[in-house]
């Protein structure tokens, strides 16, 4: 570069920095405020969970986790997530395909309805299933109805003492409800932005519908899908309010991990509560880690396009 260019550039550069940036002390003050606020609200609680979990030593920690009630809570949580996440994943892909690839009236209403579970309090999410399946609800009324539409069904349900509320099916349903929008919310904007030209090209070139989906759509949406699934899973394993309404909280039977944490906490077994809580805190950290990694991959995919 010739000196002339440099002298021409330098003042411009100085002016530029000066007008669209803050003085250093303001910058440092803002960074300071942000970091203090975040350490107080995010970092400190996170460190606290793990410190408390090991407050009585590593032996007590593993003893708490090996407890049969804790073990049953872990298994129930894994079961609920293993049912809720795949179902909501299939739903999310279907909803995104219909909404992003086709035009139809009422699309915005459908989008709002898919968001509904996010705006419903977890306690109400549990309540609605009690009202449908509980003893005083629709199912309860049906079981005691004098003239049921399907007598065989009523008999079968009564014979098998079929229970949804205060039992495992209710917990699974409540979990499905609270994690309902996660995958769909992630995929719909992504697939809308990608349009339909690539899929249309694949079809014109002779690919079948499935081939188009597996070979064209799925590679395009895979990072968004992974992101949606891990968020869905984190919420499914951590849900507390909705599950606590429908579970009945029978220790060793209908307690999930969060409910087991509450039970230990209510017993004043704080170290035990934090030991179990550390499992979920660890899950949250893994979730954040995968999220960061997925965002990184997404950015890479964008650049390579």
């Amino acid at each position: 570069m010739t000196p002339a260019v440099t002298t021409f550039h330098t003042p411009h550069h100085v002016v530029h920095r000066h007008t669209t940036s803050e003085p250093p002390f303001v910058r440092r003050a803002l960074i300071g405020v942000a970091l203090v606020f975040l350490s107080l609200f995010l970092f400190l609680p996170l460190v606290f969970v793990f410190t408390q979990a090991f407050a009585k030593g590593i032996g007590f920690y593993f003893e708490t986790l090996r407890d049969p009630n804790a073990w049953s809570a872990i298994k129930l949580t894994l079961l609920a997530a293993a049912i809720a996440v795949p179902l909501n994943c299939v739903f999310g892909v279907c909803a995104a395909w219909a909404i992003a690839k086709f035009d139809f009236p009422g699309k915005n209403i459908l989008l709002t309805l898919i968001d509904l579970p996010f705006s419903v309090s977890p306690v109400i999410a549990g309540l609605i299933y009690v009202l449908v399946f509980g003893a005083q609800g629709w199912l309860g009324l049906y079981l005691n109805a004098d003239n049921p539409h399907f007598p065989w069904l009523q008999n079968w349900l009564n014979d098998h003492n079929f229970k949804i509320i205060f039992a495992v099916p209710g917990i699974v349903l409540a979990t499905i409800f609270v994690t309902f929008p996660f995958v769909a919310r992630e995929l719909i904007p992504l697939m809308q932005a990608q349009g339909r030209s690539e899929e249309e090209a694949a079809r014109v070139l002779g690919a079948s519908g499935w081939q188009t989906f597996w070979r064209v759509t799925l590679p395009n949406i895979k990072w968004g899908l992974i992101y949606g699934v891990i968020l869905c899973n984190a919420r499914a394993m951590g849900e507390f309010g909705a599950v606590s309404v429908v579970s009945g909280k029978i220790r060793g039977q209908t307690n999930t991990i969060p409910l087991h944490i509450e039970a230990l906490y209510d017993d004043y077994n704080f170290t035990g509560a934090f030991a179990v809580a550390s499992l979920l805190a660890f899950l949250a950290l893994i979730t954040l880690g995968i999220k960061t990694w997925v965002e990184h991959q997404q950015a890479k995919q964008e650049i390579s396009k």
Partner: protein, 283 residues
């Protein structure tokens, strides 16, 4: 209009419309719409005076005031600090920025029960923060302040994550133009940047507020749930459920649902406004 009609009349090249839309509607109806309708069905078993009496009973009224007040304040605090955090993350470089950026989503990822017992223990008399507040005469455990703290925690990512993308896309030329016309940095922020961020800030505020209204798990441990003092509305519903009084629980749930639906509608309008601003900037 004519264009879109002719477009949908065209042969659909892509398959699966009926299958995917059909399944979407079926699943939505089964999991969300029919159970939600049960709430409104259950309220019809109450007479109007019964319904009114339930939703205006003193403990419920106190809980509305508390829930709305604490949620509003928490969302407001988050607007200020969330904007600062978003600003710092977008505009400045500092050590550990990537970790901080990832950690902002912690309240989304951390289960509410874990957040609940953690905050309760941190702010208890003997907790790390509580013992520092104790000599100052500030009590957070079992008080309304504690509820406010819990709601601030869970609302934090909403503001940061709605403001951050808008701030990233902001055209620096606008700021350069303003300052070359003689505006100082504060004027540029106040007159140029802030108006462009307003829709996003409002959306974030509404999202955080809506989430806080229904929050249960992270609040109940620190709140102590003292009737008339620290009982939030979801706790009132829970109390009625524990007494198997489904009618009363449902009546109060209807109040909350109606508020949530109105908020959801507001958020949709705000989001549309935010996006419009965004595309205007691009054009």
């Amino acid at each position: 209009m004519a264009k879109s009609v002719s477009r949908s009349k065209r042969i659909r090249v892509l398959p699966g419309f009926k299958l995917t839309l059909g399944f979407t509607l079926f699943y939505l109806g089964l999991i969300v719409l029919i159970p939600l309708a049960a709430v409104f069905w259950k309220t019809t078993t109450l007479t109007w005076p019964q319904f009114w009496q339930t939703i205006t009973m003193p403990t419920a009224m106190a809980s509305y005031r508390l829930t709305f007040g604490a949620s509003f304040l928490a969302a407001l605090v988050n607007v200020v600090f969330g904007l600062i955090v978003a600003w710092v993350l977008v505009r400045y470089e500092f050590f550990g920025k990537k970790i901080v950026n990832a950690l902002v989503d912690l309240p989304f990822a951390l289960p509410t029960a874990v957040a609940g017992i953690t905050l309760a223990a941190l702010y208890s008399k003997t907790g790390w923060i509580g013992q520092l507040l104790e000599p100052l005469g500030i009590k957070a455990a079992n008080t309304q302040l504690g509820i406010f703290i819990a709601l601030t925690f869970i609302g934090l990512p909403f503001i940061v994550r709605t403001v951050q993308p808008i701030l990233e896309d902001l055209d620096p030329e606008l700021e350069e133009a303003a300052s070359s016309l003689g505006a100082n940095r504060w004027q540029v922020f106040w007159r140029v940047i802030l108006p462009m961020l307003t829709p996003a800030l409002l959306t974030g505020f509404a999202l955080a507020f809506a989430r806080a209204l229904g929050e249960y798990g992270s609040v109940i441990f620190i709140a102590g749930n003292i009737p008339m003092k620290t009982q939030i509305t979801p706790v009132i519903i829970m109390g009625e459920l524990d007494m198997f009084d489904y009618g009363k629980a449902t009546a109060i749930a209807v109040v909350m649902l109606v508020v949530s639906f109105v908020l959801l509608l507001t958020i949709n309008v705000l989001q549309w406004w935010t996006n419009r601003y965004n595309t205007n900037n691009l054009a």
